[in-house]
Amino acid sequence: MTSTVSSYDILWKWSPAIVLAALVAFFTIINPNFLSLANFARMSIAATPALLVALGVTFIIIMGSIDLSMEGIVSTTAVVFGWLFLALGGRLAEGWAWVALPAAILTGAVFGYVNGLVHVKLSIPSFMSSLAMGFVGTGIAVLMTSGERIRIEDDVFRALLLERFFGFPLMAYVGLAAVLLAWFIQRKTTLGRNFYAVGGGEHLAHASGLNVRRVRVLGFTLAGMFYAAAALLAVARLGIAEANTGSNYMFVSITSVVVGGTTLLGGSGGVWNTVAGVLIVNVISNGMVVAGLPRYLQDGVLGLLVIIAVVLSTDRKSISFVK
């Protein structure tokens, strides 16, 4: 970046926020109920698990890779958590049931680690290796549950949804904490800066002595942990852990990251872009229902937004051709 920051750059930097504000204004005009604390709390419930998944995949996309394993990892970790939680008594406040929480995060980390190893050691493109690992995850979840649902009724755990502070459920604050953690990793840790180095120019990073493979594996491991945390919130939200818990998160999270302005080419964007992206996607899906627009239009609208976002966020002159 040179010091001459054009107005276009400023506009680009703030465009996700501008789009978000415009959407909020649009839906509020159609139905004033949209702009209410109760509705924002509802949106936060729907958005928080998706936000954590999107934060995880943000790091991968910054590296210029892609991770499509989130649905499988979310399902597996949700089921592992549900199963262990009930096996250890099913009450968070008593006994050993709390062990299920770190165990789930650990499962996510292991899954992500393997995911990264498959990608790096076997030299399989990340989109293919992660997609395959995602299927493996869903398979494990189906195998563990044989299609049944695990119900989590414990009030202490469900407090994530049912306990409110200033109108927002506890899980919204967990989401906020996760954003700050992700931002800290991005800004203040070597690993976070290395993600940008790899995404900005892998060969250059390698030539400068960076162990690119290690960074990649660590990136996928970190993403796996975020997916696992997302799984815990998804279970808290519906009280159900099942092989389906992860479904829909791939589309929502990748869309959110891209709409937020993190380019798929890697090296730019970041945590706050993702936050804006997740909010945009959730405002649209909630707003469609609140405004009384047919819900089947929603996927079409989101698809269009992705194309617009990708077009805007790519400096097309710098790419000679597109594969």
């Binding site: 509802r42 119900r151 519906l238 829909n248 909630n286 405004a291 819900r295 089947y296």
Partner: protein, 376 residues
């Protein structure tokens, strides 16, 4: 590069070899089974009693990893076991959603058994019903079908060989669950509806059922009906949207299936609200919720019974227990069972149908659980 190619060739070669030997094993195994059948079944009409009636039986269906089909075929196995045979004696013709494979498998089974067999089958799609039943009739075998057939095609046009066809209409049962909801609301107020994948058959029929019921309740307003694709998560979000849009105006919720109802109940619970909700499918957990009073009603279609009775109908027609052409049309083409579950009967229902294994059915009671002839 060359070695890579060679590797690939080697891989393909081993793969083909494995497949061939797998097929050989399969053929050998089925030949052995057949020989047993032939030895036991020589002149089978004469041997009316004992395990000698080992007529080869097959169930042709989509996919066992699908919970619905798993239940259906488990019923088929329960029937086979009731004859003193082993579970494994039922031949599974799995078509994975391909009508071509469905037909090819059935033809192969007919050829293998020389037409001395009984088949239960979902032809996968409506046009495939004709070639399936025609080849069965030509081979002199017996088949019962479920779900798919064209409206112009009827079992009675094929003499005895096409024993029966069973399907389900969700319109009436959905109308009944809707009536339970509307009555519980005292016939006034406003409801929202949450439906399945828009173009999906059952989704269309269940919505139609709600609309029919609403005609008799002029004081209940349908605020909106939106699809949530049978998904718990999406239904949760749609319900949240409805709460923002209509708030306290909503006094009841119609859900087109159980898994969406779970999401709806959680959306209400998050706000400390409780509304009457009806669902559909009769999943064990939904039945639990009905017992607890969190769901008002759900509806069960008894897939294991359907799977067992289809096999039983074809089998008993084949061994001459009854002559299909002597039966009334209502015994040839009919709707499958639908059982409404409300709080007062949930306990009894659970005990009868969902306490572990498949209940012991009388597999010669072919028609009493069915719900009338199919209307075009």
């Amino acid at each position: 590069m060359e070695t890579e190619l060679e590797n690939e060739n080697a891989f393909i070669k081993t793969f083909i070899e494995q497949e061939v030997s797998n097929r050989r094993h399969f053929l050998l195994a089925s030949a052995a089974g057949l020989a047993g059948v032939a030895a036991l079944g020589m002149g089978f009409p004469a041997m009316a009693a004992g395990p000698a009636q080992r007529l080869p039986m097959a169930w042709s269906y989509r996919d066992r990893s699908n919970p619905y089909w798993n239940e259906v075929v488990s019923g088929g196995e329960a029937f086979v076991e009731s004859l003193g045979m082993k579970k494994g004696d039922l031949v599974h013709l799995i078509n994975n959603g391909s009508s071509e494979k469905s037909l090819a498998d059935i033809k192969a089974f007919l050829a293998k058994t020389g037409g001395k067999c009984a088949i239960a089958c979902d032809p996968n799609d409506a046009p495939n019903a004709r070639p399936v039943v025609e080849s069965v009739a030509k081979a002199g075998a017996f088949v019962s079908t479920i779900w798919n057939k064209t409206d112009d095609l009827h079992p009675w046009d094929f003499g005895d060989n096409w024993v029966s066809h069973m399907t389900w209409s969700d319109v009436e049962p959905a109308e009944k669950t809707a009536r339970i909801l509307l009555n519980a609301m005292g016939g006034k107020g406003a409801i929202v509806g949450i439906g399945g994948i828009p173009a999906n058959g059952p989704a269309i029929e269940r919505r139609k059922g709600l609309m029919k019921a609403l005609k008799d309740f002029p004081n209940v307003q349908l605020l909106d009906y939106q699809p949530a694709d049978w998904s718990t998560q999406k239904a949760n979000e749609v319900m949240q949207g409805f709460l923002t849009r209509f708030g306290d105006k909503i006094t009841g919720v119609f859900s087109a299936n159980d898994s969406m109802a779970y999401g709806i109940l959680e959306a209400l619970r998050a706000e400390g609200k409780k509304l009457p909700v009806v669902a559909y499918d009769g999943n064990p957990q939904a039945v639990d919720l009905v017992m607890k009073g969190e769901l008002l009603a759900t509806c069960f279609t008894n897939p294991p019974w359907a799977g067992g009775i289809s096999a039983a109908l074809a089998y008993h027609a084949a061994i001459g227990t009854f002559k299909p052409s002597k039966e009334p049309k209502a015994h040839r083409e009919f709707y499958g069972p639908t059982i409404l579950i409300t709080q007062k009967d949930a306990q009894a229902f659970k005990k009868k149908y969902q306490s572990g294994s498949i209940p012991k059915y009388d597999w010669t009671d072919f028609w009493s659980p069915t719900t009338g002839p199919i209307r075009a």
